[in-house]
Symmetry: C2
Subunit: 190 residues, 2 copies
């Protein structure tokens, strides 16, 4: 709003390019690992990720639970997944089966994030939420709460949190930091 | 115009991400070379490349030859430079001094491209030009022709073509394909 739409679009394009530039120029890791990170972030932001999810969001009103799941999985879930997988890659994870387990955990907390987000939109106060509460309802957007009701949505969130924790058990080792992230997403109030 | 501005912006973001994805997923080369290619393209499109040049173009009317040179060097020249350097990298060029010579040649044909473009805007016919002739003048844009006049601009183009050819001599080996590119840019009529 301050600088105008043309500058805002350029800023977005610039940040996109500079993110890849910084990654290659500053991050310490082998070329093979850095390349895997570039691929992960490119896929997560592209047509089968953030951009694809945003496209669905602006062009269609999803008509069912599956569409809603696809939209959120692409729009925000894929970025959450990338942030977990990139962390694992940079920490030296190589094994495909192990990376798949990190990815399954990340997909679950992405889903959990969106379910909780929809509940907070209805129940959260404007003081604690970054955006104003009730915004989704005012826009007549399809959310977990509008589709399933608050009680069932709360149960879905609890089930998702249980599944996320189970994914961490499968990973083994010290996963307390990731468990804390899952707990935070489940219990957050804004 | 057909799909609306929101979809157009998303298409731009999507192409950006997919370009990096395709590069990593499809291009045959060692991880180190692919990473150098990613870095080159990220820099060429970022704040010190295409986006930076476009920012200057939309926010300010350059007031001198140096500004004009900076604008074009960033906006189109940097992409032309990247296309030459990326080709050299993928063909196995490793030596920094040799890559610098490819870069110098590319910067020169980028400059040549813009000088010729400004002449064609004045002299070209709408039938042969992709854009309508006289568009720059109608927009009161600062061009090589508006600043130096047609005769001096023609001389600048000839000098630039000579310098580009000299850069190729420094490279040695078989540079006929690159010479043909420089000749085409110098002699093109649209």
């Amino acid at each position: 709003m301050v600088y105008g739409e043309d500058i805002a679009i350029l800023a977005g394009d610039g940040l996109f390019a500079e993110a890849f530039h910084l990654l290659v120029a500053r991050q310490q890791a082998s070329p093979a690992v850095l390349l895997a990170v570039v691929a992960e972030i490119a896929r997560a932001t592209g047509l089968r990720g953030m951009v694809g999810g945003q496209y669905i969001d602006v062009t269609a009103v999803p008509d069912g639970g599956d569409d809603l799941r696809v939209l959120h999985a692409l729009k925000t879930g894929r970025l959450i997944e990338a942030s977990v997988v990139v962390g694992a890659l940079l920490c030296g994870a190589r094994n495909a089966a192990r990376l798949a387990r990190y990815r399954a955990f990340a997909a679950e907390i992405g889903l959990l994030f969106q379910i909780v987000d929809d509940m907070l939109d209805v129940e959260g106060s404007p003081e604690t939420m970054g955006k104003s509460a009730g915004k989704d309802e005012a826009l007549a957007k399809l959310t977990y709460v509008s589709k399933y009701g608050m009680a069932q949505t709360r149960a879905l969130a609890a089930e998702s949190h249980v599944r996320a924790t189970a994914r961490l058990q499968e990973l083994g080792g010290d996963t307390r930091s990731l468990a804390a992230v899952a707990d935070y997403i489940y219990r957050r109030e804004r």
